[in-house]
């Protein structure tokens, strides 16, 4: 009896998956009421992914959506993840990271009534879109701040993987640093990991030993190790993804903040009011998606003219007067 039940339930399950896949136009009338989030690492990484989870919660609350999260999804599993979540009936599936763009567009054709989103990517289709956060704008500001705070004339930036979404931050950082001090030496290290905190720690140690006295990190969870190294060596640093001042209050000058809730709310409201079209959308400081964290207790350490320069640059970027270029190729 048990076996028959099991076989039956598997049969019903597969039928329902088929139905979800083939429903097409008919399902368009269904209300949009659920959303799933795909993450590259753990949800509680106190960084990149935690920011996305917070964004999902805020969005769900505003629009009354049912949500789920899939953690630790590797690149190889990402197509399957999109497919599974769509088959389970989630109306909107969003992958948080550059690597999820291609899979989103690929799977989107199989589920024409669902919406497939990815952040930081460049792929799209009729029902798939990429939302690019203008992270380079934040990195540009950090470049000005780090270069302005450096006494040794050497600063460093630590990147996770050498991929477009990280390279654009590293390059914008270098560009901005040179505008403050044309002779500045900006070291860059890609540690090829978003999760190995030890590598972030050792990369920062290496830079400090080579004379760097301010360091910026763009390496998600692994970057937290860089902040620990800086606080150990008494070197200033800048954080990423959210306000990281709490990790080392005496050393984290400021952080680039990504307001993922703004990204998701923009996407969901366009879907709900029927204005959604597939494409690549750039969201930056003007939309409130990218922000700079306050200086907290280090406010008195930063010279007034540097603070002025930072706030002027933020204004120029927000108003569109200053365009920070997006550089996809790493320079050495």
């Amino acid at each position: 009896m048990k076996r028959i039940l099991a076989v039956l339930s598997v049969f019903v399950l597969s039928l329902s998956i088929l139905a979800a896949g083939g429903s097409g136009e008919a399902a368009k009338d269904d209300p949009i009421d659920s959303m799933a989030l795909i993450l590259s690492g753990p949800a509680n990484d106190q960084g990149w992914n935690a920011v996305a989870v917070a964004g999902l919660e805020a969005t769900a609350e505003q629009f009354g959506l049912e949500t789920t999260i899939m953690e630790n999804v590797s690149i190889a599993d990402s197509e399957a993840a999109y497919r599974q979540l769509a088959a389970e009936g989630y109306d909107i599936v969003i992958g948080h990271g550059y690597q999820y763009g291609e899979p989103a567009a690929a799977v989107s054709h199989e589920f024409p009534s669902k919406y497939f989103l990815a952040t930081e990517s460049d792929s799209y289709s009729d029902n798939a879109a990429s939302y690019v956060m203008a992270c380079e704008q934040g990195a540009y500001i950090m470049g000005i701040l780090c270069a302005g705070m450096s006494e040794s004339g050497t600063i460093g930036v630590i990147g996770g993987f050498e991929q477009p979404s990280i390279i654009k931050e590293v390059e914008a950082f270098k560009l901005a640093a040179a505008t403050v001090n044309p002779d500045i030496n900006v070291m860059s290290i890609y540690i090829n990991s978003f999760t190995d905190t030890n590598l972030g720690y050792e990369a920062a140690m290496t830079m400090i030993n080579h004379g760097a006295d301010v360091i910026y990190q763009v390496a998600n969870q692994a970057g937290n190790g860089a902040i620990i190294a800086c606080s150990e060596k008494g070197v200033y640093c800048c954080g990423n993804s959210y306000d990281q001042n709490s990790i080392a209050p005496d050393y984290v000058l400021s952080s680039t903040i990504y307001n993922m809730d703004q990204v998701m709310k923009t996407a969901v409201s366009s879907i709900l009011d029927g204005t959604f079209t597939g494409g690549v959308y750039n969201l930056g400081m003007d939309k409130g998606v990218v922000e700079i964290a306050p200086y907290h207790s280090l406010d008195s350490v930063i010279p007034a003219d540097l603070k002025d320069l930072v706030s002027e640059t933020v204004e120029a970027i927000t108003s569109g007067e200053l365009q920070v270029p997006v550089i996809a190729e790493a320079s050495k």
Partner: protein, 311 residues
């Protein structure tokens, strides 16, 4: 000149910092393998130690208790492996792999239970370097070797103790006998099961210490999968070091050196793709393995459960 020397010294201490957790774990693995216990689950043991060490230090506020907690965490995971492979006579490769996944899930779950989800990082002050009087004032060597945290000194002592124990004591000989030919050891009156349980205990202690070196000695916080593969690298160090405590340390140091070297080269702006740099430690490991072909030191009975009534 002094600048170059201090740069080399900081470079060497970076290598030592990366070698220390690998060597601590490696010593434990070598002990277990000498007794005939294969432990692919070293990654899990280190993760257990890293987590237990952090959580103990966080809630008691004492780093000393944290270190003890780390060792205990390693023991718990290791003893599961001991039970499965000695008592239940399970396939040790499968048991070890299962332990790795089990520990990854368990520590992440417990961490979530203890601290919840959020964007603040629960952290503690980590172990500070302690300068050994006199020795630390030796130029260069003192700076590299004797200005480290207490776990590094534990490592030095353990290397010396294991070197004597493995090759100069009757216990060490019995251990080797159990790993090479458990039947013969049994007939000679050595308790094979007890020796193997003890080996797993030692492996747990040192794997746990290696794990809490990362959370207590270096970072001062815990995150999911914080060991990120170092348990596997420790296994490589044991094979490269051919189960010899000093050689294990040197192999781990070489892997650490390759890692520091790739960061230094990137920081100095050497024109190469970063992915090529990240390969370096593994390339070094493969090359050394090539040179040691045909000189395997793996004990004959590694991975084979001992059954008393079988021939």
């Amino acid at each position: 000149m002094t600048d170059t020397l201090s740069l080399i010294a900081s470079f060497a201490s970076s290598a030592l910092r990366q070698a220390a957790p690998l060597s601590l774990a490696g010593l434990g693995v070598a002990y277990a393998e000498k007794a005939g216990i294969l432990n692919i689950g070293e990654e899990g043991i280190m993760l257990g130690g890293a987590f237990a060490g952090f959580i103990t230090a966080y809630f008691t506020g004492s780093l000393a208790l944290g270190i003890l907690g780390g060792a205990a965490g390693g023991i718990v995971i290791s003893m599961i492996h001991a039970f499965l492979s000695i008592k239940a006579k399970a396939n040790q490769t499968i048991s070890g792999l299962a332990l790795n996944f089990f520990t990854l899930g368990l520590t992440s779950f417990l961490f979530l239970l203890a601290f919840g989800q959020g964007s603040s990082l629960p952290s503690i002050a980590n172990l500070k370097p302690v300068a050994i009087p006199i020795l630390s004032s030796i130029p260069f060597i003192g700076e590299v070797l004797f200005r480290q945290n207490v776990l590094v000194y534990v490592l030095y002592i353990a290397i010396a103790a294991f070197s004597v124990f493995f090759y100069r004591t009757e216990w060490g000989i019995s251990l080797t006998a159990v790993g090479e030919n458990p039947q013969a050891a049994d007939s000679a009156g050595i308790n094979v099961y007890r020796t193997r349980y003890l080996a797993c205990l030692v492996n747990g202690i040192f794997g746990g210490l290696g794990g809490c070196f990362i959370t207590l000695g270096q970072l001062g916080y815990f995150q999911e999968d914080i060991v990120s593969g170092k348990g596997y690298i420790a296994l490589v160090a044991v094979i490269l070091g051919r189960h010899n405590p000093i050689l294990i340390f040197l192999s781990a140091a070489m892997i650490g050196l390759a890692e520091s070297l790739q960061f230094s080269m990137q920081a100095m702006g050497v024109q190469l793709p970063s992915q090529a740099f990240s390969m370096l430690p593994y390339v070094v490991a493969v090359i050394v393995l090539l040179f040691s072909i045909g000189r395997s030191t793996t004990p004959a009975a590694v991975g084979i459960p001992y059954e008393r009534d079988k021939r």
